[in-house]
C-alpha cells in the first residue's frame, strides 16, 4: 500500500506502527527526555529528594535514550542536560556521605 509517498506491505506498516518508525502513523508519544529532565531538575527545590530522583533521572536517560522522540523536535539535548544534572547530584550526595563517614 502507498503511505506517505512510500510503498509498503501491510506487515511493514504494522511493524512500523509498533516500533514507532513510521511517524505518519504515530498518534501518541511519551517524551522521556522531558521526564528525565524534570526528575533531575525539579526536585532541586526540595533538595533532599534528589537522593532518590537523581538515580531515577539517570536510569530514564539510559533506558530510553533510543526511544522515539517528539515528532517535531528530535534532539537529545534534554537527555544530556538531565544526565549532567543527575551525575552532579549523585556526586554531591556521594561526597556528603564520604565526609560524614
Amino acid at each position: 500500500m502507498d503511505l506517505n509517498g512510500r510503498h509498503l506491505c501491510p506487515l511493514c506498516v504494522e511493524t512500523g506502527q509498533e516500533k514507532k518508525t513510521l511517524k505518519c502513523l504515530d498518534n501518541y508519544r511519551v517524551l522521556y527526555d522531558r521526564v528525565a529532565l524534570a526528575l533531575a531538575v525539579a526536585p532541586l527545590l526540595v533538595f533532599w529528594l534528589t537522593v532518590l530522583t537523581a538515580p531515577m533521572a539517570l536510569y530514564v536517560t539510559v533506558r530510553y535514550w533510543k526511544a522515539a522522540p517528539s515528532i517535531l523536535r528530535g534532539s537529545k539535548v534534554r537527555f544530556v542536560i538531565a544526565a549532567v544534572f543527575s551525575l552532579i547530584e549523585i556526586g554531591g550526595w556521594a561526597t556528603l556521605l564520604l565526609l560524614c563517614l
Binding site: 501518541y28 521526564v35 517535531l72
Partner: protein, 386 residues
C-alpha cells in the same frame, strides 16, 4: 552534511489548557495538531485534501477577561490611595498588581474567536487559534496549501449539482476567507445539545447573597451571620460543580462558562483559606480542639479588623462574590432568555448554486468540456460543435 530539512512549520498561535498546550504545525501534505501535556504529546493529522471547512466565530472571552482584570485594576487603584494602609493590603496587592498590565495585553491582542476544522468524518476545535488576528495569519498560511491539494477535486466538483459555494461575510473579497472551490462558512452556530439550566442563575445568586452577608459580617461579627455564610458558600460550591459538569452538554455563552470556572476557583480558594484559618485557631486553642461548635463561635465572633490577614480575606470574599455574582447573574439570565432552539444536526447546508469556476483554481477560462448550468449538456452531434 547539510541541515536536516524541517518537516513541520509552526503555525502561529498557542492554546493553553489547564495542563499543557495546543499547537498547530504545517507539514507537506497535512496539518498536524499537537496536544502537549507536559510529558507526552498527542498528534492528530488533517490532510489538506480532506479538509472541508475551517470556520471561525467570535467569542466574548476577551470581554469576560476584561471585566475580571478591570475589576482587579480598580482594586489596585483603590489600594494605591495613601489613606489605605496596613498589612492587610499585602495579599490584595499580590493578587491585583499585575491586573492593569494584563488588561492592556488582553485588549491589545484583539478580539477572541473559536476556530473549528471540519473534515468528512470529524470536527476539531483548534484552541491555538483563539485570537482573530492569529486565526487570520494561520488561514493565510494554510489556505494556499489546501487549494493546491484540492485542485483536482474542485474541477470535478464544478459539474452541475449543488456542491460548493464561497460565502464571504460582508461582500468584500477577503483572501483569508475564500478558497478555490472549498466550502467556507464564515459563521458556525454551535451545536446546541441542551438549553442552559438555571443552575448558573442559582450559583451567581448565592454568591451575591454570600457577598452581602460577608459585607454585613465585616462590620457586625456574629454567628448569626457567619453560619449562614458558610452554608451559602457550601451551596455555591455545590452549584458551581454542577454548573461546570453541565457545561459540556449545554449551550452556554462563553462568558458564562468562564465566569463559572472563575467563581468555582474563588470559592475553592475561600474554602481553603477558611480551613487554614480554622486550623490556626485550633492550634491557638488546643483545649477547644474537640469542640467544633465553640471554635466556630470563636471564628464568628472574631472581628475581621483584629488582624490584617483576616481583613484582607474578608475583603477578598466580598469583592469576588459581589463582582462575579452580579456579572454572572446578568449574563446568566440573558443566556437563559436568548437560548437558541435546537440546531440542525450535522454541518450547515450547502447553498444550491455554485459560482463560476474562479481563475485561481483553473488558471484559465472554464474548461469547455465541463457542463455548466448556463450552457447545459453539449450535443456532440450538433452543427455548432462540428
Amino acid at each position: 552534511m547539510g541541515k536536516r530539512e524541517k518537516e513541520y512549520e509552526r503555525i502561529p498561535g498557542k492554546g493553553k489548557k489547564f495542563i499543557g498546550k495546543h499547537t498547530l504545525w504545517m507539514g507537506k501534505d497535512h496539518l498536524l495538531y499537537v496536544e502537549f501535556t507536559g510529558f507526552s504529546e498527542t498528534y492528530k493529522r488533517f490532510y489538506f485534501k480532506d479538509i472541508r471547512a475551517i470556520a471561525t466565530h467570535d467569542t466574548s472571552r476577551r470581554k469576560t477577561w476584561s471585566i475580571v482584570w478591570g475589576s482587579l485594576t480598580i482594586v489596585a487603584l483603590l489600594l494605591s490611595i495613601p489613606a489605605v494602609s496596613g498589612y492587610w493590603i499585602i495579599p490584595l496587592w499580590i493578587v491585583s498588581w499585575p491586573a492593569p498590565l494584563l488588561l492592556l495585553i488582553n485588549w491589545l491582542r484583539g478580539p477572541t474567536c473559536r476556530c473549528v476544522l471540519s473534515t468528512a468524518v470529524t470536527r476539531q476545535e483548534l484552541p491555538s487559534l483563539h485570537r482573530l488576528r492569529t486565526a487570520r495569519k494561520a488561514l493565510n498560511m494554510v489556505i494556499p496549501k489546501i487549494e493546491e491539494a484540492q485542485r483536482d477535486i474542485v474541477a470535478e466538483a464544478f459539474k452541475p449539482g449543488p456542491r460548493i459555494a464561497i460565502l464571504p461575510e460582508s461582500g468584500q473579497e477577503d483572501p483569508a476567507r475564500t478558497m478555490g472551490g472549498a466550502f467556507f462558512h464564515p459563521t458556525v452556530k454551535r451545536e446546541a445539545a441542551r438549553e442552559p439550566s438555571k443552575v448558573y442563575v442559582i450559583l451567581f445568586a448565592l454568591l451575591i447573597v454570600y457577598g452581602l452577608l460577608s459585607t454585613i459580617d465585616l462590620f457586625f461579627s456574629h454567628a448569626i451571620l457567619s453560619v449562614p455564610g458558610i452554608i451559602l458558600l457550601g451551596g455555591s460550591l455545590v452549584s458551581g460543580i454542577i454548573a461546570v459538569a453541565r457545561q459540556l452538554e449545554e449551550n452556554v455563552k462563553e462568558a458564562v462558562r468562564s465566569l463559572t470556572w472563575i467563581a468555582l476557583a474563588c470559592i475553592s480558594l475561600d474554602f481553603i483559606i477558611g480551613y487554614f484559618t480554622f486550623m490556626h485557631l485550633v492550634m491557638k486553642h488546643p483545649k477547644l480542639a474537640h469542640n467544633h461548635w465553640a471554635l466556630l463561635m470563636l471564628v464568628a465572633d472574631a472581628s475581621p479588623f483584629d488582624s490584617g490577614f483576616s481583613l484582607g480575606y474578608h475583603i477578598f470574599s466580598v469583592l469576588f462574590s459581589l463582582v462575579l455574582g452580579s456579572t454572572g447573574l446578568l449574563l446568566g439570565k440573558a443566556s437563559l432568555r436568548k437560548a437558541p432552539g435546537p440546531a440542525p444536526a450535522g454541518p450547515p447546508p450547502v447553498p444550491a448554486l455554485p459560482p463560476p469556476i474562479p481563475k485561481s483554481v483553473t488558471g484559465n477560462q472554464p474548461d469547455p468540456g465541463l457542463e455548466t448550468e448556463e450552457q447545459g449538456p453539449r450535443d456532440p452531434f450538433s452543427r455548432e460543435n462540428g
